[in-house]
């Protein structure tokens, strides 16, 4: 079992107030400021829950894909992954779009797509985000 903890503070109202991701227990990042305006409009250099979810999803997917490719005997030299999470105020999180470009010696396009598709289905963050209406994947090999 693995626990990971984050600590966040907030002062004032939703629209006019502001928050800070003070710390995470690993010490890897923080403090990071957050505001409602930056979450829903121009980020102006501030992160948001959706951006953090995107980072989590891209990282989780990359690990799962790397593991799957290695198990198939074709470990990747490099994977470049992006995740774009869409937030619609009043509706919620409506989409996470994954895109990966891989450098994988000895693999064909079909096998790479299959491995990427399996990673998208099975990585723990994808499972946790299963209620997101749309999770999409674009996968290609770097030529």
């Amino acid at each position: 079992m693995t626990d990971r903890t984050a600590n966040v503070t907030w002062s004032g109202s939703l629209m006019d107030g502001n928050g800070t991701i003070e710390s995470v227990d690993s010490g890897a990042f923080g403090p990071l400021d957050v505001t409602w305006a930056a979450r829903t409009e121009d980020p102006e250099g501030l992160t948001s829950p959706e951006e953090l979810i995107a980072a989590a999803h891209a990282a989780c997917f990359s690990m799962a894909l790397s593991h799957g490719l290695a198990q198939a005997g074709t470990p990747p030299a490099r994977l470049d992954t992006s995740a774009t999470v869409t937030f619609v105020p009043g509706t919620g999180i409506t989409k996470s779009a994954l895109a990966v470009r891989g450098t994988v010696p000895g693999i064909g396009e079909d096998a790479f797509l299959e491995a990427a598709s399996a990673a998208k289905e099975n990585c723990p963050v994808s499972k946790a985000l299963a209620a997101v209406p749309e999770i999409t994947l674009e996968a290609s090999l770097a030529s």
Partner: protein, 116 residues
Amino acid sequence: MTIASRVGDPEGKTSPEELLAAAHATCFVTSLGGELARARTPPERLAIHCTITMDEVEGMGHRIVSSAISARGVAPGADQASFAQAAEAADAGCPFSALIKASATVTVQATLEEGS
């Protein structure tokens, strides 16, 4: 970020689960701030801890099984009951809580602090 630091000692590295904990805490705190303002008791200060737990579930591999939120705050005009009610509404309204509840358990503990 490595597999070892993801499931073992983090050794200064973040992980998908830690990023989700930061996302959930941030999503929840904005919802709670909004709920308290709606109840005309906007918070002076809120502090949220969120712990995401990943476990190996038999036959399913690694799964995110729970997110535990602890909320403390100073909100002039609020009492313990209205603060707890706002926290419950914040959980219902936070988009990330709504999502993760489909596959994991979400718990919320709310404590109004002195100074309110």
